[in-house]
Amino acid sequence: MELIIFAVIGAILSADITMFGQFMISRPIFCGPLFGYLLGDIHTGLWLGIIVEMMWINEIPMGVAVPLDLTVMTSTAVIWACHFFKGSQEAAILALAVAIPFAYLYKEVDISGRKFNTYIMHWVEEGVKDGKEHRISLGIYAGLFFFIIRSSLMYFFIILIGGLLFRQLFSYLPIHIYVALKKAWFYLPVFGFGAVLYNFRSISIPFIKTAGEKLKR
């Protein structure tokens, strides 16, 4: 039952990326701690959230590009880590590493869903031509409904299958890999800082710009 509830919550959060609202409840910095709180370990959720938020700072849906779903990546990693090995930093990092391929799988399913939306769009168009205007609202609600169903099923599958894979993998890791994962817990945010600073390379701070021009002269 808990698994179904988490799958539906995950789907609702993912709907925020494109389908409804864009209130940013889908961002890792919010959904990570949310699942952490629900599973009694907000610290792990928040830490994974800030790692993903910083490293994927530029990942936003623009135009026809379908970005990697960071919500599914962060949420499932937090759920696995907090459910199976609560409080373990090593497990949390491994969970995130395992969650990334599943996020790619989710993206492919999302693309198929958007292709299916084209059929609904044509159904609405035909309806309007035939004077069935109620299809406009129905089309919108159908789009949302199919998304939530599709996304919930994907979350359910990923949490279940990925969770089993993650638990087995973590239990059989050699000791030096545990040490490395512990290090990665502290190194990944630093990698994130580097990625964030890279974004600021084009910034023009007026004072520095003026000083630079004076130096050139």
Binding site: M19, F191, G194, Y198, N199
Partner: protein
């Protein structure tokens, strides 16, 4: 009442997002109750509805400006003040790109990262200053700060666009959004530098994390600095590649005992 109803419907703009015509049905869904009021005759309404089924794509936060201008235009056409039936389509096609550029660069390129940096700094500070019970502050701060500005802008842009119509384009350009964005980027940079400073101080200077490595002792902050420089120069590569590189680097450093 109608304006508030339209405002609520704008959240559904992308509910039927599709690869062929992107936000077309979402746009029509927002517009539909207004068009129903303007054109009581079903046959005439059908022509108008079909006009709005073409390709449409813009930033979802900026659509309110276009919606208000299209509603104003449709109202004028319905009342006979406007003769050009193609004007609503022209507004849509001419406005979608430019306003999307403003929305993308300000909300997604500047405001969201800025609010994220504030939340990250809060998280790092809460590790040092507060007990573990206060970790909820950062995500709540992120959502509240982001949405105060985002929702206020969406509502304001709709209401004002209804009133000033095409003058809204001038109003937006007068807002100097590029200048505001640059200020937030500078403040954001300061916040990031502060976050790095506190992160290095809290996690990099702890005596327990200073073992003998390479025959002498040095704080983890040294390793953090080297990693951050590497990461900065790898900034161009994909985040996924960078993530796994970080894990591999941790394996190597762990194996070497560094």
């Amino acid at each position: 009442m109608t304006k508030n109803f339209v405002f609520l419907r704008t959240f559904f703009l992308q509910a039927l997002w599709n690869f062929e015509r992107l936000q077309n049905i979402g746009f029509l869904y927002i517009l539909y109750p207004v068009l129903k009021g303007l054109y009581p005759d079903k046959e005439k309404r059908k022509e108008v509805l079909l006009r709005h089924l073409g390709f449409f794509n813009t930033n979802p936060y900026m659509v309110n400006i276009i919606i208000a201008m299209v509603i104003n235009s449709e109202t004028n056409i319905a009342s006979g003040k406007e003769q050009n039936l193609k004007k609503p389509e022209m507004i849509k096609s001419l406005m979608a790109g430019p306003v999307a550029a403003v929305g993308d660069s300000f909300f997604w390129g500047t405001w969201r990262p800025f609010v994220s940096f504030i939340a990250i700094l809060t998280t790092i500070l809460s590790m040092n200053m507060f007990s573990l019970n206060y970790f909820w502050i950062a995500p709540v701060l992120f959502i509240v700060l982001y949405n105060i500005v985002h929702l206020a802008f969406r509502y304001w842009s709709l209401i004002v666009s209804f009133r000033v119509d095409e003058k809204m384009i001038k109003l937006i350009s007068k807002l100097e959004i590029k200048y505001i964005a640059e200020i937030f980027r500078i403040i954001g940079l300061i916040v990031v530098v502060l976050s790095i400073f506190f992160y290095f101080k809290i996690f990099g200077m702890v005596p327990a994390l200073e073992p003998e490595r390479l025959g002498f002792s040095y704080p983890d902050a040294v390793m953090f600095g080297i990693i951050m420089i590497i990461s900065f120069f790898l900034g161009r590569i994909k985040p996924v590649v960078m993530f796994y590189l970080a894990i591999i680097l941790s394996f190597i450093l762990g194996y070497l005992g560094l």
